[in-house]
């Protein structure tokens, strides 16, 4: 199928849905009080781009996302590798990890408020805690998946330890790292926005609540759409970055949406 045809149905569907929504709220089929016309929302979105307040909010959301994700990476990658490559640690800690993993991280929100108040610390704590688990699990899988034959081959050729790490260990773990970072990134964004919504840390999430409370419905939809575009964009960027790393590997199958 030619390239143009691949994109056509999706484009038509997006335009169709937007047009339907526009017509529905213009004709009063959907109450305009709750569903403003799409053209107005789009107009607001463009308007926001020139608004300093919008960029500050966006930067604050991204700041919470980035710091929290970074902490998660710094903690989870060495921990996951250690647990995954040591038989003792793996057997000892697996049940603990299995038990803690399904605990909803949002349950810790009241605790975080109590300890850190409503500033950036709360946001970072929640983001880091939630983003930790998917990454930790991916690193454990990754370390356990290093091919024993490849390790023995390295030993039989008397590769130096540094070379073994660089040529055998890192290449086999890299795909898991990439997948883990991508999953953790979307979890991190969810928690950043949640902290802003629930706790009132500054950022896009708090701006959404304020717009809703203030009755500025158009702005509320605009900002919700921005979070969607942000999530989609971050995911697209990470996929882009990981593609050259993974072209030879099929570990995507192991992927779990967190």
């Amino acid at each position: 199928m030619p390239r143009a045809h691949r994109w056509l149905p999706g484009t038509v569907a997006v335009i169709g849905v937007l047009a339907l929504l526009e017509i529905a709220s213009r004709t009063g089929l959907l109450p305009a009080r709750w569903f403003p016309p799409m053209s107005d929302v789009t107009g607001r979105l463009v308007g926001q781009l020139g608004d300093g307040r919008f960029w500050t909010d966006l930067a604050q959301t991204l700041q919470g996302w980035a710091i929290g994700l970074l902490i998660a990476i710094v903690v989870a990658v060495p921990a996951g590798l250690a647990i995954g490559s040591s038989w003792w640690l793996y057997r000892a800690l697996r049940p603990v990890v299995e038990f803690l993993r399904p605990v909803p991280s949002v349950a810790l929100i009241p605790l975080a408020i109590l300890v850190y108040g409503s500033g950036i610390e709360t946001k970072v704590f929640l983001v880091a805690f939630a983003a930790l688990w998917p990454l930790l699990l991916q690193m454990i899988y990754g370390a356990r998946d290093v091919d024993p034959v490849a390790l023995e081959t390295a030993r039989s050729y008397r590769l130096r330890r540094g070379d073994t790490v660089a040529r055998v260990l890192i290449p086999s773990v890299l795909p898991y790292l990439a997948t883990g970072v991508r999953i953790s990134s979307s979890v991190a964004l969810v928690l950043a926005v949640t902290a802003e919504l629930v706790v009132g840390s500054p950022g896009i999430g708090r701006a959404i609540t304020e717009a809703q409370n203030g009755g500025d419905v158009e702005l509320m939809y605009t900002l919700i759409a921005v979070t969607g575009l942000l999530g989609w964009g971050l995911n697209a960027v990470l996929r882009r970055v990981e593609r050259p790393l993974l072209h030879w590997h099929a570990s995507h199958r192991l992927e779990e949406v967190a």
């Binding site: 057997r91 049940p95 605990v103 909803p104 009241p110 605790l111 509320m220 919700i224 999530g231």
Partner: protein, 256 residues
């Protein structure tokens, strides 16, 4: 002693040791934020077994179950349709990708605006959020159905309802359950968040309220309850999966 036995002992002993260490370490705690673990457990017993079970746990479970059930039914139904029509899959892709990228809690202000702060709003946001993993996994499953299997159905004239219930849905089962697993943890998250934002009862509400009243052991007991709920719900789905997909587990095992 062989490694297998040592492994088993480790798996049982280490979690017990962790709990024991926590109890010992926190025993004399005078910290306001982290009271002794024994206090938390006593409060847990007093609060949840079963004083506030009916007033807070049941409303939360009801919202979770209703939203999750709606998401599963709609997700599988829409997934079967979209997955069976390649054009529909390509048309729906950008819309689904965008909607699913919205951080789920961002939908709560929208829900409050349109539906108020009652159960309807909570069930709605839970359902919307759980919908995507179920839908996307179902679509993947349908598109991944073995061509030999679908050709067999064509040859033997297995069509309509028989095709759906005896060929397509069982064949997609493993993927559907994978989507339901992701959806379940999202459902619990959304139940808690929606109760944190706007509610008059529920476990999430209880935890937040305890924190505001500085009833710290109560707050901790609620957090522990949410952890236990997450674990139990996940385990329950695992049991259902073992029963419904027994053939799949055996088939993949014997293929090894």
């Amino acid at each position: 002693m062989n490694r297998r036995r040592i492994g088993l002992i480790l798996e049982i002993a280490v979690p017990l040791l962790v709990v024991a260490a926590l109890i010992l370490w926190s025993a004399g705690s005078t910290s306001f934020y982290f009271p002794p673990v024994t206090d938390m457990l006593v409060t847990f017993e007093q609060t949840w077994l079963f004083d506030r079970f009916g007033s807070d746990v049941l409303p939360s479970l009801y919202r979770l179950a209703a939203g999750y059930a709606i998401a599963t039914v709609v997700g599988v139904a829409a997934g079967v349709v979209i997955g069976s029509v390649p054009l529909a899959a390509r048309a729906a892709e950008p819309i689904v990708e965008f909607l699913r990228a919205i951080p789920p809690p961002a939908l709560i202000p929208f829900g409050i605006l349109v539906l108020g702060i009652g159960d309807t709003m909570k069930i709605f946001v839970i359902a919307v959020v759980c919908l995507w993993p179920v839908l996307l996994n179902t679509v993947d499953g349908i598109r991944g159905l073995d061509p030999t299997l679908t050709a067999t159905a064509r040859i033997y004239g297995i069509t309509g309802r028989d095709r759906l219930t005896r060929v397509v849905l069982p064949g997609t089962g493993p993927q559907i359950v994978a989507g339901m697993r992701t959806g379940l943890s999202l459902a619990l998250i959304m139940t808690v968040v929606s109760e944190l934002v706007a509610s008059t009862n529920g476990v999430g509400y209880f935890v937040l309220q305890s924190q505001r009243d500085f009833a710290i052991p109560q707050m901790w007991s609620g957090i522990i309850l949410l952890g236990v709920l997450g674990y139990l719900l996940n385990a329950a789905l695992g049991l259902v999966e073992r029963r419904v997909l027994a053939w799949h587990r055996h088939a993949t095992e014997s293929a090894r």
